[in-house]
Symmetry: C2
């Protein structure tokens, strides 16, 4: 079996005005739908980061992909790693601290490979008649639990003009609105863990939001907060101290401040107070080599995986194994995405035995109007996505919806995620990302 | 597809009187051939450790295996790990130092699982029409390089009575005979790296053997010596100092003394002399959790994998990944084995990108008379085993040969590898394994 064609569909999907320490989500998020066609008639699909950079990465890989046997993934990985080494004079550092996810040029090849691997695994699953999680070693679970991923946001449902979407959640800029949006999500999806994206309001306000969530939902709903490095070490310690009870029992403090050294200091100071709130990271730890270092510094107790970011389903398995060996836990982060990504995340999570937390997903922030999965939005059952009894990812493309996504993409000038620019455009013309802000 | 039957064939194969610090090989080595039959008509095979212990381990797993889908390997692994935890009051420690390979009760479940995983991967490969190395992520290489694995030995070709085998190599108890046996092996197999099992003669004699090999074969044949912990830290340093040149350039010093702490001290003392001879281990490091510890102590620079020992092909991939992350190299060790094992080793090695040394194999010490692979002995090309263009492991069973192996097994009382007892029986009635001996 040989891959005869790689089709790339750049699409735009409506995205609500969500806030984070990076800034503001644009009215549209960019995604790329990848189709790999084979000479056996099987087509594999994947969804990944969108815009010019990710598209260029995929285009550059085209010579490796066309003509390849979809089973020969190690060689594809090695070829792309060689290309990346050859291109390693590209400007930019390894750290994710100052870059929105998906925009670090130095590990682009991992994300490009990830999309290709997922599409190849979809092909393999279809050829073999097995779900993706079963062709990479077999599932550890039949359904994958996701968390209610709450954001502070301005009013607006995302999109503009004829593509403006209904504002299901409204403005969320205080504890009461946070609780209300969480209730909406839990009613609709059944989530049993809760994550708040912080780093937006004064830490006192965000502490109040977490406390309000605990009061409303009780201790059986583990809580996490992720300010994406917005806090100083001192502030991180203060928040950790204030939320000692709320973040215990299955919750965590995610990337409170920048760098492994900073998180290590937060950890030491909290432990000295008898506070062992675990810290999670997908900013200070973005590649395998940083995992042992994070363990050595005791800076991170939970690594946030993601098949899109970490190099695909098998790399998430490798990360799961590595974290298990290092005595660390594993969770999964997310970016704005549709159903094809959701299924890849579900398969990766199902095939990662050491994954012990509900995964993040932005899925509730997207709408059926933008979904490219045939049959519409992926259903949740008690906060979980079930691995379907279908070969491959278990999801097909609705080509009319893909075409609509491409039309939206063509209509807008946006070609790169830049939350700082959006913030200046819509909220504060002088806004700059400053770390630490508090 | 469901596994409907597990057939176990305990076999005995002639084994020459090879020496090591464990003692003496018995005239027969014990192996177990595993057959897993499915309702789709496909049968998967594996070869593993033999005798009562390994058989009991496989028998205990039978309830998990019968009725399972061969793709559901994660769940089999987890079920067997749970059983192992439940049985963890079994006597014996985690360390391999005082146990011949295959006889540590505490990690028997990993070896049992390995045999089942390999047979399941053979099934999957046959179902999919792909070689095993390609169904686990794709090969990094088309052929796998093996080393000339030299032993000190007494005269005798292995076996007894009607099963006595021709003594192809004769007595090997001095440098000249070591060189002669190496020349025989290299002429016949084309090996391009050389390993000497040491810990048998006085270290001065073994140093002389290594020097004689270097003199005969030159620096383009990397050299290693493995005394299986027979030396003290002081002696290890002395040997490392004496063989500084000979073990550099792609060679290594393998398990010179016992424990990670001991090897760490050897490393520190050699480095202080400007001698960075790398150290390899399959005795001080026998499970994943010891790898980071070995790295922390800088005790081990190369971990010796083996699909039989480490839990199968995917665990070797995980070990390869872990070693890569820790900046460590990977090689592969071996025990007396036939062609089915050799092919499993070749597939595991082909699918482990970080494997950068020729693998060990005892294969030259076995004979065609005992081979169970259909078509006879697996061919070597320039010291390499080529991944065949066939589905699964690429090797089938010769059932007549399996039956002969079972007959040999039935005829002999041996049910457990015990090199110390053999040493007392055939060489020295008062022999005891003493560590360190020198």
């Amino acid at each position: 079996m040989t891959i005869t064609e790689m089709k790339l569909h750049p699409i735009a999907i409506a995205d609500p005005p969500l806030r984070s320490s990076y800034g503001l989500h644009a009215p549209f998020a960019l995604r790329t739908i990848v189709e790999l066609k084979t000479d056996s008639g099987i087509t594999g699909i994947a969804e990944t980061y969108g815009g010019d950079g990710p598209l260029a990465g995929l285009e550059a890989a085209r010579p490796h992909v066309t003509g390849m046997d979809p089973f020969q993934l190690t060689r594809l990985f090695e070829a792309m790693a060689r290309d990346a080494v050859a291109a390693s004079d590209v400007a930019g550092g390894r750290s994710q601290t100052y870059l929105v996810p998906g925009e670090n040029p130095l590990d682009r090849h991992m994300r490009t490979y990830a999309a290709l691997e997922i599409a190849c695994l979809d092909i393999i699953g279809k050829a073999v008649g097995k779900p993706v999680c079963d062709v990479v070693g077999g599932r550890a679970r039949d359904e994958v639990s996701f968390s209610a991923y709450l954001f502070y946001k301005h009013a607006g449902g995302g999109g503009v003009g004829g593509d403006a979407r209904e504002d299901e959640y409204g403005e969320i800029l205080d504890p009461k609105a946070v609780v209300r949006s969480c209730r909406q999500m839990i009613d609709q999806y059944g989530f049993r863990e809760i994550k708040l994206k912080g780093g937006v309001l004064d830490p006192e306000e965000e502490i109040a939001s977490i406390r309000a969530l605990r009061e409303e939902f009780g201790a059986s709903y583990p809580l996490r907060i992720d300010p994406n490095c917005a806090w100083s070490v001192d502030t991180s310690v203060e928040v950790g101290r204030a939320l000692k009870d709320e973040l215990s029992g299955g919750g965590y403090l995610e990337d409170p401040c920048a760098t492994l050294e900073g998180m290590g200091e937060v950890r030491r100071r909290l432990l000295a107070e008898g506070n062992d709130t675990p810290q999670a990271s997908n900013v200070a730890v973005t590649c395998m080599a940083q995992v042992p270092e994070a363990g050595r510094l005791d800076a991170v107790q939970i690594v946030l995986s993601d098949p899109h970011y970490w190099g695909g389903v098998r790399q998430v398995q490798s990360l799961s194994h590595l974290c298990g060996v290092m005595g660390m836990g594993l969770s999964m982060h997310s970016n704005s995405h549709l159903g094809v990504s959701l299924m890849a995340m579900a398969h990766a999570a199902a095939a990662a035995p050491n994954l012990t937390f509900a995964c993040d997903t932005h899925y509730p922030w997207q709408t059926a109007q933008d979904e490219v999965a045939a049959g519409g939005r992926i259903p949740f059952h008690n906060g979980c996505v079930r691995i379907p009894d279908k070969p491959g990812l278990g999801v097909d493309l609705d080509y009319d919806q893909v075409a609509r996504g491409r039309e939206r993409y063509e209509k807008i000038p946006l070609r790169k995620r830049d939350d700082e620019a959006e913030m200046r455009k819509h909220v504060d013309p002088n806004w700059k990302r400053v770390l630490p802000r508090w």
